[in-house]
């Protein structure tokens, strides 16, 4: 019962849609979902946070772990469509120094 779904956009790319809450309960699931995508060769991962109303430091920790996994596989991890609360957490934790919140999951890898 994962609240994460993988959208396999291309052989290299995947969009992972996160659920309502990205917290200590769902963080390990996000890790697993990203591992699955990367293991299938899709090392360029976008985490779509449009449905996520709440994220805590465990959720943020899972995103950092996912970034590590994607980079180790030669890809990258990007986050997109973050709401107010998520943006605030990114700011408070200084994580906005590392990750850019992209607007649209579809164009997060446009560069």
């Amino acid at each position: 019962m994962s609240q994460f779904t993988i959208d396999e956009v291309s052989p290299e790319r995947a969009i992972i849609r996160a659920g309502n809450r990205l917290n200590m309960v769902s963080a390990p699931q996000l890790r697993e979902t990203v591992n699955k995508a990367v293991n299938s060769g899709r090392s360029h991962v976008v985490v779509d946070l449009s449905a996520t109303e709440f994220m805590d430091s465990s959720g943020l920790g899972a995103l950092i772990g996912a970034l590590k996994t994607a980079r180790a596989a030669g890809g990258d991890l990007r986050i997109a469509a973050a709401g107010q609360q998520v943006l605030m957490v990114l700011q408070l934790s200084n994580m906005d120094r590392i990750l850019r919140p992209y607007d649209d999951p579809a164009t997060a890898f446009a560069d």
């Binding site: 200590m24 309960v25 963080a27 390990p28 890790r31 805590d56 430091s57 465990s58 943020l60 920790g61 950092i64 772990g65 970034l67 590590k68 996994t69 980079r71 180790a72 030669g74 990258d76 991890l77 990007r78 934790s93 200084n94 994580m95 906005d96 120094r97 590392i98 990750l99 850019r100 560069d111």
Partner: protein
């Protein structure tokens, strides 16, 4: 519904370190007496010390006179820090009830402890009343323990393959590994030899209704220690007035086991640590790459190399500028990596085009070759085969793009890994980030102490090394975010581990006087007594009052008798932090190791000094009888040497100790 909080078992009320409720009024009176006595003692201490510095150093023998006054200064500072600590040693009121909805993971960390012991703790953990998940974190990766855990019905975790070839960070790594795979709001950390009581969570979770509380520590009390505590295993002073005092100043420490931690606080530590480490390592790496590239550009390079270096330089400069302008580091490093990959690809393409042209010239061109070319170019341009790898400048730039902490198994390191004692380092960071801690002085786990001196010595060495490591790497006096009192509370514990150096001087000075008549002070006559005796008596009484009946003598003896260990801890930790030498510490096996006998080599220094002190007593007494020396000074030094010997004698009992069961059978 929340379970009602368990009443305190009246039988337990006498266990040392256990919670004995005193009335508010009695507590206030006790504190008033204690504080009055502290003021008196500290005044007497400084009265003596100032006289020593300004009026009584024997400059003729400065080579021992100055070290002695320095040692005494060390001791007075130690006493002052202790006084400051216990100034606020007040019992806490009973905690509020634990919220029934709190989710908890109970972590039992183990490496090489006997499987029976781990299972005993795990079975007791299952009986904890508050709802929770129990996990055995087995760093020994033992299949037998995995089977037994499954049989018992508790979860079992070991390190995954991501840890292969990466630093394991001992217990901190074990806990960090588990933190990423579990989901409880709170973590109860237990060593494998700490058998928890069913009410441990009911009695501690209530404190977390204050959302700023990140840690609740309870005492570590050992049940397999006979009366008299031959190995000095219990730490009644530390787990009594000292932790209560630190708590009063908002600085009670995490001690590794029997503590509840808030996951949110730990994860926050991990994230802040990650952001800081990544930002500084990327910036430092890019600057280094820029310097290397600049140097390389000044050399005489083939045109192709020059072109690549120029492009790399542009990319690095652009990246540094972007970070300076506030662009997120992941984006900047990714762009830099992509740029280098492009460069690599263009060079490979160039080479392959050249190869095709050469082949065509030789009349060997075939259609098949060009078909595989794209794939071949991809392969040859990939990071591992890239021709750019030959350029140090490019390699350094690539290494600087690492935002995934590739050297570590995990990007987040919530439990501090800077020291072999992860607990103190972690709680210091928690405090620096504004989290509060609580010391709940009630024994809620039955511990099993090492039963052999060798193990006990190894354990103390490790604690001391870890504490000094934290001081040298993360000095609390300068760590941002701590309050002044918190700085002093951490520093106080670190300061106490330097006692070994002072002890050597306290052993040497009276010996020199008795054997060779070397006088380190200008006089041992009335002016000395008038200042020294009141101070010494006040000092000893202060310990009695502060300890409120807890046995502290054993601890005092060990502080002196283990001086070689404290010195070794300081020197090895300094060599480790400053010169990268390994500490060579062993995980301490805790039970069933009383056969593990201590060898004379381990206690060589103590033995040597004991012999020297006995010789000093004999010679001093002979001189006294023959009337060839000044009697008062000789008596003072005889008393001093006797005091040293009594302290050292604690090791005789320790060496003879055969373990708890043996001891019980004898009685």
């Amino acid at each position: 519904m929340t379970m009602p909080t368990a009443p305190i078992d009246p039988d337990d009320a006498d266990a040392p370190g256990s919670r004995r409720y005193r009335s508010e009024r009695a507590e206030s009176v006790r504190l008033l007496i204690l504080r009055t006595w502290i003021v008196i003692t500290v005044l007497l201490a400084f009265n003596y010390l100032l006289w020593r510095w300004f009026a009584s150093i024997n400059w003729a023998n400065w080579w021992i006179g100055v070290p002695l006054v320095l040692a005494e200064t060390y001791s007075v500072i130690d006493l002052s820090l202790f006084s400051l600590t216990v100034w606020k040693a007040r019992q806490r009121p009973d905690p509020t009830l634990a919220p029934a909805t709190s989710t908890v993971d109970v972590f039992i960390t183990t490496y090489n402890e006997p499987i029976d012991l781990v299972l005993r703790t795990a079975a007791a953990a299952q009986q904890i009343r508050h709802p929770h998940d129990t996990w055995i974190l087995d760093d020994g990766d033992r299949p037998e323990l995995r089977r037994q855990a499954a049989r018992l019905g508790v979860n079992y975790l070991t390190r995954g393959k991501e840890w292969e070839g990466k630093p394991r960070h001992a217990k901190a790594g074990n806990l960090n590994n588990a933190l990423m795979q579990t989901t409880g709001e709170f973590i109860l950390a237990l060593d494998a030899d700490m058998v928890p009581k069913p009410e441990i969570l009911d009695r501690t979770l209530g404190y977390f209704t204050d959302h700023a509380v990140g840690l609740v520590q309870t005492p570590q009390y050992f049940v397999n220690v006979p009366t008299g505590d031959p190995l000095g295993s219990q730490a009644p002073l530390f787990y009594g007035p000292i932790q209560e005092g630190k708590d009063g100043w908002g600085a009670s420490f995490f001690c590794g086991s029997n503590a509840v931690l808030r996951r949110e606080a730990l994860m926050e530590l991990g994230i802040l640590g990650y952001v800081n480490a990544t930002e500084s390592s990327v910036l430092a790496g890019l600057k280094e790459a820029r310097a290397i590239t600049r140097r390389a550009l000044r050399r005489r390079n083939p045109p192709a190399v020059q072109k690549v270096l120029t492009a790399t330089m542009e990319a690095i400069t652009h990246g540094l500028g972007a970070i300076g302008a506030g662009e997120p580091i992941a984006d900047v490093t990714y762009a830099l990596r992509s740029r280098i990959a492009e460069l690599s690809r263009s060079i490979v393409d160039g080479h392959l085009a050249q190869v095709s042209a050469d082949l065509a010239e030789l009349g060997l061109a075939e259609a098949e070759l060009s078909e595989g070319t794209v794939e071949l170019a991809d392969r040859l341009a990939a990071a591992d085969l890239s021709p750019l790898n030959a350029l140090e400048a490019v390699q350094t730039a690539l290494a600087a793009t690492d935002v995934g902490r590739s050297a570590e198994a995990q990007a987040l390191l919530p439990m501090a890994t800077i020291s072999v004692t992860e607990d103190m380092a972690t709680s210091m960071r928690l405090h620096a980030n504004g989290w509060k801690s609580v010391y709940h002085n009630e024994v809620l786990a039955d511990g099993l102490a090492p039963e052999g001196l060798k193990t006990s010595l190894a354990q103390r060495l490790r604690w001391a090394q870890g504490t000094v490591q934290v001081l040298l790497k993360d000095n609390p006096l300068f760590l941002k975010g701590l309050t002044g009192a918190q700085r002093l509370m951490y520093f106080s514990t670190m300061w106490s581990y330097f006692s070994g150096f002072a002890t050597v001087i306290y052993l040497v000075a009276p010996t020199l006087f008795l054997v060779a008549g070397v006088l380190p002070v200008s006089s041992y006559a009335a002016p000395f007594f008038l200042r020294f005796l009141p101070f010494m008596i006040a000092n000893q009484l202060l310990f009695v009052i502060a300890a409120r009946g807890l046995p502290t003598w054993r601890g005092q003896q060990y502080t002196l008798a283990l001086f070689p260990i404290w010195i070794k801890a300081c020197t090895s930790a300094a060599a480790n932090v400053w010169f990268g030498r390994p500490l060579n510490f062993a995980v301490t096996p805790k039970t069933g190791t009383h056969e593990d006998r201590v060898s004379l080599r381990d206690l060589g220094w103590q033995l040597a000094f004991a012999i020297i002190l006995i010789v000093a007593i004999v010679m001093g007494t002979m001189k006294l009888i023959s009337g060839s020396v000044e009697p008062i000074g000789t008596l003072v030094n005889l008393g001093w040497v006797a005091f040293d010997l009594i302290n050292l004698s604690v090791l005789v009992g320790a060496v003879r100790y055969r373990g708890y069961q043996h001891e019980e059978a004898q009685q």
